[in-house]
Each structure stands twice: as structure tokens, then as C-alpha cells.
């Protein structure tokens, strides 16, 4: 699905990613863990197409297409979704409008007719139930006045509506209490199919109790330094990141 090779990236002259390799196939869930400043959120931003990063070397192919050649919105229309760590508020624009606009842009890109109002509303009902999102929130302005948990649930609700091939969850667990965490994780699990994939970026093992990854990667100093099965997350939780640093140095 996505192949990242030897990716190097700078921001304001400072190198953040230093030769990152990652391959994710359809049907897989990959977790990326790592200490603060390792480059986790940078990776998410680059995949989504934030312009302030400069790619100095490497390649990213997404379903055979050169991802770096695509604009942010084209990436989204090709099926790449980013669940934001800090979802943005858009006053005066209802969630429903926002999503219908997005959905129709994606459909147009694929040469499909706009969705009918009836089908759309049915979809809103089905998908909001999936993430236990109060249907009232669907009518409110995008993220405006939402609690932290509601914002994150709204991200997963949008993900459900847009049905991406690859979802990147950037620290979706941050700021969530245990109930919200469970709801968000359940939503993600229910959306899993053999045809899509997710990259779950997280600090803590906690989220991985609910979203079980096929692979766990440790991102340290701009590179993936260790890859293992889901148990790796438990080891990290127990021992912290220091033993990895040590093993790299030795």
C-alpha cells in the first residue's frame, strides 16, 4: 500500500527524518512509537503533505503512485487520511456540510456522481453510531466547542465517512480518558478491512491494548531503529526507550 524509502526531511534547515524506511500492506495495522522529538508527527505531516517540510532524499509510493508529486487534497482523494493530533475548529461550518463537501470532492475526483442527500444522511447516522458520536455534534460547527474527546471521536467519524485506504492516526490517544479511548479504538477496529491499512502513532502502549497492531516500529532520531510484533510495545512500556538507545550505540 505505502512504501517509504530512505526518507530524509528538513524543517527550517534542521534535519528531522534521517533515512526512514517503512512498508505497510493492505490489511495491516502498524504502530509507530518513539520518544519525544523522534520525528513521529513529522512523518504524519509529511505523508499528509504539509508544505513547511523539505524532502531532501528518498521516495514515497502510495499504491504505485509517487505520493510526493501529489498535493495535499489529491493525497486525500487518493485515500490517505490523517486523524489530527489537534483537530482544527472551523466556526460557522457545520460538520455535515464539511463532510458532504469533502465526500463529494473525493467522489468527483473518482468520476462519481455527488451523493444524494438521503444516502448521505443515512451514512451519517450509521457512521456516527459506530463511534458513538452524538448526532447533535454532526450538526454543530466543525470541532467548535467540542471537548477533547469529542474532537478525537469526530476525527474517527470523519474517517468512517471518507473510508480511506490508509489512515494515519497521529497521537489519537493523547488527552483521552479510558472510556473515550475505548470508543475511539473500537471505531478504528470496526473500520478495519483486508483492503485498508492504518499507521497508529502513539506515545504509550495503552492504545495498543485496544488497537492490536501487526507490527510495532520504534522511531528514534529520524529512523526506524527496531521493528517487532505487538509484544515489542509491552517491552517498551516496561523498559522505556533507553535500552533501545543503548542497543543502537553498542
Amino acid at each position: 500500500m505505502i512504501k517509504i524509502k530512505n526518507l530524509h526531511a528538513n524543517i527550517e534547515g534542521k534535519e528531522i527524518l534521517k533515512g526512514l524506511d517503512l512498508e505497510v500492506n493492505a490489511g495491516e495495522v502498524h504502530a509507530i512509537m518513539g520518544p519525544n522529538g523522534a520525528g513521529k508527527s513529522t512523518l504524519a505531516s509529511i505523508l499528509a503533505g504539509r508544505e513547511e517540510y523539505e524532502i531532501t532524499a528518498g521516495s514515497i509510493t502510495f499504491d504505485g503512485i509517487d505520493l510526493l508529486e501529489l498535493s495535499t487534497e489529491e493525497r486525500a482523494r487518493e485515500g490517505l487520511f490523517l486523524a489530527f493530533q489537534y483537530p482544527v475548529e472551523i466556526p460557522g461550518v457545520s460538520n455535515i456540510n464539511f463532510l458532504r463537501t469533502a465526500l463529494n470532492e473525493i467522489r468527483e475526483y473518482k468520476g462519481q456522481e455527488p451523493i444524494s442527500a438521503k444516502d448521505f444522511m443515512q451514512m451519517v447516522r450509521d457512521k456516527s453510531a459506530l463511534v458513538e458520536l452524538d448526532s447533535k455534534l454532526a450538526n454543530r460547527s466543525v470541532n467548535e466547542g467540542f471537548s477533547g474527546g469529542e474532537k478525537k471521536r469526530n476525527e474517527i467519524f470523519q474517517m468512517a465517512m471518507l473510508d480511506p485506504k490508509l489512515a494515519i492516526l497521529d497521537e489519537t490517544d493523547s488527552g483521552l480518558d479510558i472510556d473515550a479511548l475505548r470508543i475511539v479504538a473500537n471505531g478504528v477496529n470496526k473500520l478495519k478491512t483486508p483492503h485498508n491499512a492504518s499507521i497508529v502513532i502513539t506515545h504509550y502502549q495503552r492504545l495498543l491494548d485496544y488497537i492490536v497492531p501487526d507490527f510495532v516500529h520504534v522511531l528514534y532520531d529520524g529512523k526506524i531503529v527496531k521493528t517487532g510484533p505487538k509484544e515489542l510495545a509491552l517491552t517498551l512500556e516496561e523498559k522505556g526507550y533507553d535500552w533501545i538507545k543503548e542497543s543502537i550505540l553498542s
Binding site: R75, F81, F98, L162
Partner: protein, 482 residues
Amino acid sequence: MANYTENELAKDLENQEYKFGFVTDIETEKVPSGLDEDIIRLISSKKNEPSWLLDYRLNAFETWKKMVEPEWAHVRYEKPKFQEITYYAAPKQTKKYESWEDVDPEMKETMTKLGISLEEQQRLTGVAVDFVMDSVSVATSFKEKLKELGIIFCSFSDAVQEHPDLVKKYMGTVVPTTDNFYAALNSAVFTDGSFCYIPKGVRCPMELSTYFRINAGGTGQFERTLVVADEGSYVSYLEGCTAPQRDENQLHAAVVELIALESAEIKYSTVQNWYPGDKEGKGGVFNFVTKRGICERNAKISWTQVETGSAVTWKYPSCILKGDHSVGEFYSVAVTNNYQQADTGTKMVHLGKNTKSTIISKGISAGKSQNSYRGLVQIHKNAQQARNFSQCDSLLMTDECGAHTFPYIECKNPTAKIEHEATTSKIGEDQLFYCMQRGISEEKAISLIVNGYCKEVLNQLPMEFAVEAQKLLAISLEGSVG
């Protein structure tokens, strides 16, 4: 309603340029350019006016000659050369149209291009339209139907002929000829406009709409609108404006007077889209307009404006809250792009007890434009318990544009309550990125965000107008993020 339209609006986004910039090839009758007493007499005689009206014009002209052009507004422009303007231009027509079928096909074509095909309007929306092209009212629809209710809705010229008592009684009572430079000029040379009278207790069953169009080159447009809502009546009135693309600056100096008698309500909505000039700031309409309404006891006047056009705008729709318990409202969205300049706002004059006013102003500046809100809230000493709420928000799209707020408050009554809120923000890169990450193009993202920002104002507009206004906002801000 707004939910639906917000989604639909961006369809017309391909339309990058000013789409009303065409010129209709219709024979025009003009008087020689320049302004003196003879021209005024000529206009007056062409319109077969009674002598009191000619005197009114001549008085105004005398006043105007002694006045100087106002310079206090935060706008810069080359002053119009008043002797080079043609003050009367009318589509040549030998007879009055009895019905829609009689209207010149070219004219119908123009209206269709403007999206106001009368046939369609009559069939679908039930909006009565008066079409004013180059100073002369061309067609008024739905006249008969309104007549049954005693509602008068016609061109100003027809009103002068058919209802001279009403015109004489109310004209100039809210905006006197001495009011300001442009109002005086208008009073001297106005050629047509709309007149509307709603009888006591009648609720006008449809939106009344006037469409203004400057077509001929080298002309100014000076129309007058007079709306009188008699006791206990209600009317919602819409006005739209467009002009062809020309390199010259054209002057539009209108006067609008609203009179809401006891317990009457007037809702007046404007979508102003005069030609704004090109990207380098060449050409465009100078929109110098005086709009004011007076409220008697318990009456209410509500102004809603969406201003996207004109090179220079100088306009302050105001309310004189004369009667006790009267209410004034002003909802405004003003968009400026490229080299446009707008100085707009309102005056709320509280004279009566328990009078209430609300001001919601949303300014959006893009390109190298300058956008100013200028407002006056005046509480007179007898206005016990008067209440005002003002909110002025500015949104900046680039680093080169300007947003300015000039709120004036004069309060002479200690029981009054006045609130003023103001914000200035720049369109968020984060908001744009968020939208784009969901597959929405930058242009559509901007129009979503801007329409969201203006929602409180757009929600005040009648349905058909709201759709039009949202499209306009999107088009006006094409490619404007910097």
C-alpha cells in the same frame, strides 16, 4: 437552508472573472454630459414631472454647488469629474411595456444573463422584480397581484405620475437634500428608482426586488428608492446591482429612504456587486450611497448587506429610532479584494425610549485592499433604557491588505446599555490544511471558511439571495490567500 446552500455554492467557482461584465447592445437615449440647471430641467421635462419636483431638484442643485466632497472616509481615489458625466441615459423605448411579452428581447437577454429572468422568477420564486437599467425602470412584475392588496410597487417615475401625494409627503423626509454632497447631487439629478408603499396592516406576501444595472458608458447612475410601510405592515425588500467591465470609473450615487410607521417592519437586503475594477485597480464603480430609515413607535428596520463589488464604497445604511420601543438592525458582510476600498458601516440614532439596535459587521480583506468599518451609535438624552450591541469582525486574507474599525459612541443617557465587541483574525493556514487533508480544494476551503465566518449575516438574507451571496463571496475571493 444554509446547510444546503453552503454545499452548493462552489460549483460556480470556475467563474474566475467578473461575470456580469458584458454590455448589452441596446440603443440608449442620453442627454449631453455635464451638469447645470438646463440639464436638470431637461431631465425633469423628459420625465414629465410636476413643478414641485423640478423645484426640489433645483433647490438640491443650489445646495450641492455650495458643498464640498467629503474626505473623511478612509479611501483614496481620483474625484469624479462631475462635468464629464452623463446624468441621464435610458434604454430607448417608445412605449411603456404593458406586459412581459412586450419587453425588448435584448433586454430580456440581459436579465437572463444576470440570472433574473422575470419569467423564471415569476414561475419559481414568487419574487416581484423591478428592473432599473441606466437610470430607467424597465419592467416591474407582479404589479397586478400586489395591487389587489393595495401595495404599490413601481418605478419612482411612475410613482411621481400616479401617486404624487405619497411621493411628495415622504420624499426627502429621511435624507434631506442638504444631508451630504452625494445625497444633494442625487436629489438634483436622480432619474429613476423604485417606490413601494405597503398599506396599513398588510403583510406583503412576496419579496419585492429591484435590480440595478449600469449599462451605458460614461454615465452615472443616480437612483432613488423610497419604501413606506404604513402602520402595522411588513415588507421584505431586495436590491441587486451589477455593471459592465469598463476601464473608466463610473459613479453610482443613490439615495434610499425607508419609512416604517407605527409597528411596521421593513427588511431591506442588498447584494452589491458593481464592477470592482480589474486586478490592477483600473476602472470600477464608485459607490457613494446614502441609505437611511426612520422608525416610528414599535417599528423595526433591518438592513442586511453583502458588499463585494465597487472600486470604492462609501455607504452607511442607518436607522433613526425615533419612536419608543423601535428596533434597528444592521448586518453586513463587506469583501474587498485587489485594490478595492470600502468604508462602510451604520449609524444607529436612538431618540425614543427602550429603543434597541444590533450591529453585526463582518469585513473580509484580500489582495491589497482596504476595508473599514465606520459606525456611530448615538443615544440621545431622552432615550431611556436604550440598548445597543455591536460586533465588528475583520478577517485578513493576505499580509498586504488592511482592516480598520472606527466605532463612534455618543451617549447622553445614563440608563443606556452599549456593548461593543471586535475581533481581527487572519485566515488560518491550519484551517485550510485541515480542509485540504479531507480532499477539499483550497478555493472551496476558503469559501467554506469565509461563509462560515459570515454565517450570522448570510442567515438574515432571503433564501434565493443567500445562495447568490455565497457564490459571490467565493468568486470575489478567488485566489486571494497570500
